[in-house]
Symmetry: C2
Subunit: 143 residues, 2 copies
């Protein structure tokens, strides 16, 4: 469904959201540990998320990452499209370049319904609520 990079990215963002409303910045090392992700690879992803304007990074001791916006204003769709692009939102289920209502692939109509639901869900799900569930112990980032 999502790439590994995207999975790591989402987990990182949720962890940062949950952690940084307590303290300030969160370090790469801590993020990678708590999300059970490879450190160096996670670094690349956080870099990308910073470039895309979803994170703010600071170097040096006490440096780290913080959300660029309030977690209530950040949703999963923004994260996914920052990392995986918009393929998941608009791409054809059978990989055709041209696939729309004018010239649909055989599964287009049925696929579009599900895909649009996924898009809706990703757009409606905020980092705030995900971080809250995590903080409450209702959900987990590892295992």
């Amino acid at each position: 469904m999502f790439s590994k990079a995207c999975e790591y990215g989402i987990k990182a963002m949720i962890y940062i959201a949950q952690k940084s409303d307590e303290d300030g910045k969160v370090s790469l090392k801590e993020i990678a540990e708590k999300t059970d992700s490879p450190v160096a690879f996670t670094a690349k992803i956080l870099q990308a998320l910073s470039r895309e304007g979803l994170l703010i990074s600071t170097k040096g001791p006490t440096g780290g990452f913080v959300l660029a916006k309030s977690p209530s204003n950040m949703n999963l769709a923004q994260i996914v499209s920052a990392i995986d692009g918009d393929k998941v939102f608009v791409g054809c289920g059978l990989g055709l370049e041209t696939c729309d209502n004018e010239r649909p692939c055989p599964v287009h109509h049925k696929f579009a319904i599900v895909r649009d639901e996924l898009t809706l869900m990703l757009n409606l799900t905020t980092l705030q609520e995900l971080a809250l569930g995590l903080k409450n112990g209702d959900s987990f980032l590892t295992r």
Copy 2:
């Protein structure tokens, strides 16, 4: 969403379904052409689908592939799981090994809803209806 292999496999199955209720067997060469797929790679996928019991293959001149069952009894879920396994049906959206109602990842509940809809759609969509749309010119396998 689906792997390339799976996309090719689905397109091939739809083409075979549409073509073989007219004639009998359909050759690899024809399938690859009409689905705009690489021949040798498609061969591997058709091999796998044959091993999985979804296709019957015949060697020699006039040989080729036919559906193992009536297209009304074959659905997309069977094809997807033959090629990509059941990851798409049961896998965690964030890649956790353990992720269920007992110990959910942060997106589990919302993700499961969409994933279950996808599963339902794949189970309910038969090769018969897809092949019919294609034959009627309402849908396409290329471009």
